[in-house]
């Protein structure tokens, strides 16, 4: 079954005092997400990811086009009962406690009264907030709020979960936990649609990704397919300040700092480089991937439009 079917969704804003200047936030987007997959919606800041999500949630009305979620219209309450949404940098009613907030959301999502308190406790445990169930949200840190956000998105056992930048504000531990959670959701048969500009997460989690930039879809496909054509780069560090002549021939980018040299070169030239260093008897400090293949793909794809600025490791 097609979980999300986006048919030419488009959004243009009219800005300026007399509403004369149109600003295109999203060009006609065609996209399909299958049920049960983890789908990454990637792009630099301002690419149109959040706009797309807002339109799917019915918060913003598209200029043209439409979308179907689980085969139903966007404002269909039956559909909304089966989806969960975590907005970017969420903010909740700070006068409520975590338990009360989730109970309120449970009420609005139509969770049966008998089950609500159980489900609230369960989901809070799942996101690691079981012991703050009675604490007011105004006392929560950013990371805690993010977890509450995830909790409210999965409380009512939705079939699809939409996450906008789910890792933002989390420390590495937190990010790891969220990644694990997303894997679990997939194992439960749910569909996860999440947007991010952190490519390493996407590479680790996603079955398929879509890359969007300046409101336009650049490519869609399985990570493996997209990166198969891309060779990764490696970073090689050795002691000393000597750069073997062979390095230049291998197209290596070398920097000398103090008594170490750092060189970045294509993965394929790895063996030749190591051989050159051995011949010179230089001591190798480290050999690591300089960029993930997806990042490489991303940068190359978006290079003409100076996309690098929005990309992070």
């Amino acid at each position: 079954m097609i979980a999300i079917d986006i048919l030419g969704l488009e959004k243009t804003y009219s800005v300026g005092f007399w509403r004369k200047k149109p600003k295109c936030a999203l060009r006609p987007l065609h996209l399909r997400v299958e049920e049960g997959e983890i789908f990454g919606f990637l792009g630099p800041n301002g690419a149109g990811k959040t706009t797309t999500l807002k339109m799917l949630m019915g918060l913003v009305y598209p200029t043209a086009g439409s979308a179907l979620i689980l085969g139903m219209e966007i404002n269909d309450p039956r559909m909304k009962a089966q989806i969960g949404f975590l907005p970017e940098q969420p903010y909740f009613y700070d006068y409520l406690t975590a338990g009360e907030l989730l109970d309120y959301y449970g009420q609005l999502s139509g969770v049966a009264p008998k089950e609500r308190s159980r489900k609230v406790r369960e989901v809070l445990e799942r996101v690691g907030l079981a012991d703050v169930i009675r604490v007011q949200l105004r006392k929560f840190s950013k990371g805690m709020l993010q977890r509450v956000g995830i909790a409210q998105a999965i409380l009512h056992d939705p079939r699809i979960v939409f996450l906008d930048e789910p890792m933002s504000g989390l420390d590495p531990m937190g990010r790891r936990e969220v990644r694990d959670l997303m894997e679990q959701l997939k194992h439960e048969g749910k569909t996860v649609f999440f947007s991010t500009h952190i490519l390493s997460d996407a590479e680790a989690l996603c079955d398929r990704v879509a890359i969007i930039h300046l409101g336009e879809l650049q490519s869609v496909g399985a990570v493996v397919d997209l990166t198969s054509s891309i060779e990764g780069k490696i970073e090689l560090v050795w002691h000393g300040s000597k750069v073997p002549a062979a390095m230049n021939g291998l197209g290596a980018d070398c920097h000398v700092t103090g008594d170490t040299v750092r060189a970045v070169l294509l993965e394929g030239n790895q063996e030749a480089a190591l051989e050159a260093l051995r011949r010179e008897q230089l001591r190798i400090v480290s050999l690591i991937p300089a960029r993930t293949s997806l990042e490489e793909y991303f940068v190359r794809k978006l290079q003409p439009s100076k996309a690098a600025a929005g990309v992070t490791k």
Binding site: L59, K80, A81, I83, F92, Y105, L108, S109
Partner: protein, 258 residues
């Protein structure tokens, strides 16, 4: 009654209470006790008059201020802080949100007024030593004040659905003042001619008519309020509030949330 509307209403009520709005009751209680004691000691022969005038005017003003200050933020605050996103992504329709907010605030005001009414009657008892039959009309005056609150709340909610809190407060307050003199505005309109007359009459009928709902003076002078007036006023308040709510629903339905 629509379950989601009820849930939104009770959450709105909870928010108001936790926002410590009910603390205004303390100020009110102090005011009433002070006035009652002062008046009781001076004994100027019109104690009852003063207590009712002061008490009911205070109930009205306190309530209007609360209605405006909370009402203007009901929608705009949720949009600004984006707490609305996680609500509307659930099977909640936009109109249910508006209506729920309305009942939440209206309920808060009713509860607030109830406690204030106790205060007024307590003060009345203090200065008159016992209740008169005519004191029953004070209840009618309080009922009319609650009807005023319904109108003001709906109007504040309407402004909140499209305007910033500051502007909404100004508009709502202005409408309250003009509405108090609505009858004069209609008289005024009757004395003009031509296009001015049309515009003035239109404005005069569009503005909420608070003068009819203000029976504080007659009640203070122990005058009865005719039954048909109570009915007409009730109908008017309900119809006007519904009108403002419809406007809010329409605007909110068509809004792109930032």
């Amino acid at each position: 009654m629509n379950g989601r509307v009820v849930h939104i209403a009770s959450n709105t009520f909870r928010e108001a209470v936790r926002d410590r709005v009910l603390y205004n009751l303390i100020a009110f209680a102090l005011l009433m006790s002070g006035a009652a004691i002062l008046v009781g000691q001076i004994s100027i022969g019109i104690e009852r008059l003063v207590v009712i005038h002061l008490g009911l005017t205070a109930v009205s003003l306190f309530g209007v201020v609360i209605a405006i200050f909370i009402g203007i933020g009901l929608v705009s605050k949720e949009i600004d802080k984006r707490t609305l996103y996680t609500v509307l992504s659930r099977p909640v329709q936009r109109w249910e949100f508006i209506v729920g907010k309305f009942f939440g605030l209206a309920g808060t005001l009713v509860v607030n007024t109830f406690f204030m009414a106790l205060g007024v009657f307590a003060a009345l008892l203090y200065v008159s030593q016992h209740f008169h039959a005519a004191d029953g009309w004070v209840l009618v005056a309080l009922y009319f004040i609650i009807l005023q609150f319904l109108i003001i709340t709906a109007v504040a909610l309407l402004f909140s659905s499209f305007s910033s809190p500051l502007l909404s407060a100004v508009f709502a307050f202005a409408l309250f003042v003009i509405g108090t003199f609505a009858e004069d505005l209609r008289g005024f309109a009757g004395m003009t001619h031509g296009l001015t007359r049309w515009l003035a009459t239109g404005a005069a009928y569009l503005v909420p008519n608070f003068s009819a709902l203000n029976v504080i003076s007659s009640v203070a002078h122990e005058q009865p309020v005719p039954g048909h007036l109570i009915l007409s006023n009730t109908a008017y308040a309900l119809v006007y509030a519904s009108m403002a709510l419809c406007g809010a629903v329409l605007i909110f339905e068509h809004r792109n949330l930032k």
